[in-house]
Amino acid sequence: MTINPYLKKINQTPHANKLNLQLVSVKDTSATLLLPFSEDIIGDPINRLVHSGAVTTLVDTACGVAIFQTQNNFRAMATLDLRIDHMRPASSGVDIYAYADCYRLSHTIAFVRSTVYTTDMEQPIATALATFMRSNKDFPVN
């Protein structure tokens, strides 16, 4: 299996760069990304829990990377819909991982599911399902 070399450039997306998203691993049709903890992603100042929006951005990006890997090119995609279920919030100070698998690639649509976890993928903090519109334009990377 070859790793799509462009995947290492994921942080050329300004917002992924701001959240410091990092590529952890890729395999066949899947990818794992890391959202490192930072004070900027706190959503609940009382209990110091991570904001669900940062988790959604992690999931959306992980899904995109899984699609790049499955397509084996760098054609852009646009999210059509995304649904995420939050089993439990992530506490502050903990790194968050999203595993995303592109389980079906049709001519125009990519279908992806994702599991979000902190230490154990068997005990996810969230799961998500998303569909993406595929495009024939390349994603801009240098």
């Binding site: 100042p45 009382i46 929006g53 279920d85 939050h86 801009p140």
Partner: protein, 149 residues
């Protein structure tokens, strides 16, 4: 001052603009809040760091979702008496148009406010409020997550 006390303080002063600064994530992506009628409207001025696809350029889809989740959260904090920050249970978003490099707005409508759970409809738009860029719905847990007796 504890965050809960700050919320009560902001409400009593009708300081809805101070609401967004309470949530570090909202502050970091650049959320501002205003009052339109009796509703909180969240505003997100364009920022380079919120871009997802630089070639269009378009806002990051995940960021648009996060902005809308936060708009619902602020709406619930402002419009209900809570002892805790509402916890999101699920969130489902449909993207209708790419988010252009311009100011984005979002407002939330509570469909059902129960004792324990709230259901919200959330809309995001840019220059034309008749042309939303995304619509979403979410459930929030309002009470503490105690075991069912």
């Amino acid at each position: 001052m504890s965050p809960l006390k700050t919320i009560q303080d902001l409400k009593s002063k009708q300081d809805y603009a101070g609401l967004a600064h309470l949530i570090p994530y909202a502050k970091s992506i650049g959320v501002e809040t205003s009052m339109v009628g009796n509703n909180i409207v969240s505003t997100l001025r364009f920022k380079e760091s919120n871009i997802g696809n630089p070639s269009i350029p378009a806002l990051h889809g995940g960021l648009v979702a996060g902005f809308m989740e936060n708009a619902a959260l602020l709406h619930l904090i402002w419009s209900t008496e809570l002892k805790n920050i509402p916890k999101i249970i699920d969130f489902s978003i449909d993207y209708l148009r790419p988010g252009q490099a311009e100011t984005t707005y979002s407002h939330c409508e509570t469909i059902r406010l129960g004792r324990r759970v709230a259901l919200c409809n959330i809309t995001a738009w840019q220059a034309d409020s008749e042309k939303p860029i995304a619509i979403a719905r979410a459930h929030f847990l309002l009470s503490s997550n105690e075991p069912i007796k």
